[in-house]
Symmetry: C2
Subunit: 247 residues, 2 copies
DNA sequence: CCAAAACAGGTTGTCTGACAACCTGTTTAC
DNA sequence: GTAAACAGGTTGTCAGACAACCTGTTTTGG
């Protein structure tokens, strides 16, 4: 497969001025130079200081406002909002630079995914259950073929399996937040070294971990689903952390 | 208190053109007129169609790009990304219009908060525990004074209590996502009718629910913390749903 | 004829300048 | 003394221009 997704994706990103300005301002806020309630310098002033056009500054501020970091009022200025007013949750790629942060992110994923599974156990439809079973079957086959043969396919199927489980919770917010976290983990970890790490996720012992989740879903046992999912992801995280190449 | 937060806050928002354009484009994507991979009309074309300047369209597209909904390349155009590539999780105020959506949001909050509590049980420091205890004490006092006297204070203290618990997980991602969800729920529900609903959250029986969470944290029992937190928020959601004024 | 280089048209990214809408504090008018 | 008008500053929007870049076509050199 010459164009496997996530493999030769865009890595360089031609820096865009507004993004850089936004990062710069954000840093000033998080660094404490700008406290909640403070007024930002005027757009003209910022433009002059950064050496860019006002349109660039405007776009940058527009991004911050979008995330609820600042609030701007015509004729007055832009103000740093209260820190607890943020209206979005996003994961910066910088999170994947430090080992501790990756572990924390995996913790979050584990917890949220477990919650989704628990919900899915009771909220799932028979249709959804059937599709989940089919994906498990497909994953089992890829697993049997071994890491050398079907590494990509197994990883992808597993992703799809848990995505379907999450969606079976029939709670779109759960689905969104899990998908978002998962995407970020995949995008950043996969390109780094997940390829190798995925190889250690093969074998019947590990398939049993997945099996336990499915059994709980079949039994519509929310508690069991929660526990099984948590166990599965905690163990995967442990195995990842134990790897020598996990910087 | 003449300027209680969240009471007489900004309600009207002078419509900003870029936001409206962004919403419009988003609607086109979610409505299916624009499928993943499709190219958006050019900025000039969009500007003409919407009857606005190109800077406005640019700002709108910049927002969508920020959320990973589109990806634009200089000299080529802007493209709708794969739906699973979204890089942020945000809650639109529209979520609070339908009863079912509010329930789903509370489900999500319950699950994530429970995960944070479980983590906090083992990750907390003694310092953090002490501060949590102090907040509980403060809340108990407000509770004793009754809804007529200390409604605002009790609600705020409770919020602060669980925020501190979440932060005691010492996982900033958990803290961020919980704070974000919580903020949205508060901002939207409170102004609507949470004021009244909060009154039914008084009394020793309900304080016991909180007490159970604290006991688990003291015992450093992650499972108990998870269960107690879940129980507490599920019950609160149930009581809310049972209210007559819950449209 | 073929491959590489130059070209042309279109698109996004950035810059500049202008004006409208709006806010705040001061001054003026009644 | 109070209300209205004014002045200055700031954000929001508009219009036009050019740079950087991409893609497909044409031209050129062999």
């Amino acid at each position: 497969m010459p164009d496997a997704p996530g493999l030769f994706d865009r890595i360089d990103r031609p820096r865009r001025l507004p993004d850089e300005v936004a990062v710069s301002i954000t840093a000033a806020i998080e660094g404490g130079q700008l406290a909640p309630g403070d007024r930002l310098p005027t757009e003209a002033e910022l433009a002059k200081r950064f050496g860019v056009a006002r349109t660039v500054v405007r776009e940058a501020i527009s991004l911050l406002r979008y995330d609820g970091i600042v609030d701007s009022r015509r004729g007055v200025g832009a103000f740093v909002t209260d820190a607890s007013q943020r209206s979005s949750f996003r994961i910066s790629p910088a999170c994947f630079e430090k080992r501790k942060q990756i572990v924390q992110l995996l913790q979050l994923r584990t917890g949220v995914q477990a919650g989704a599974s628990a919900l899915a156990a009771t909220a799932r439809t028979e249709d959804q259950m059937a599709r989940i079973d089919a994906l498990y079957q497909q994953m089992a086959e890829a697993d049997a073929r071994g890491p050398a043969e079907a590494l990509e396919e197994r990883v992808d199927t597993e992703l799809l399996l848990y995505r379907h489980i999450t969606e079976a919770s029939n709670n779109p917010y759960y689905a969104e937040v899990v998908a978002m976290i998962e995407t970020n983990i995949q995008n950043n970890l996969r390109s780094a070294f997940l390829k190798n790490a995925a190889a250690s996720e093969f074998g019947p012992a590990i398939m049993d971990e997945h099996r336990a989740v499915l059994d709980a879903l079949h039994a519509q046992d929310a508690e069991a689903a929660r526990t099984a999912t948590r166990t599965r992801f905690e163990r995967a995280a442990d195995r990842l952390a134990a790897r020598a190449d996990f910087a």
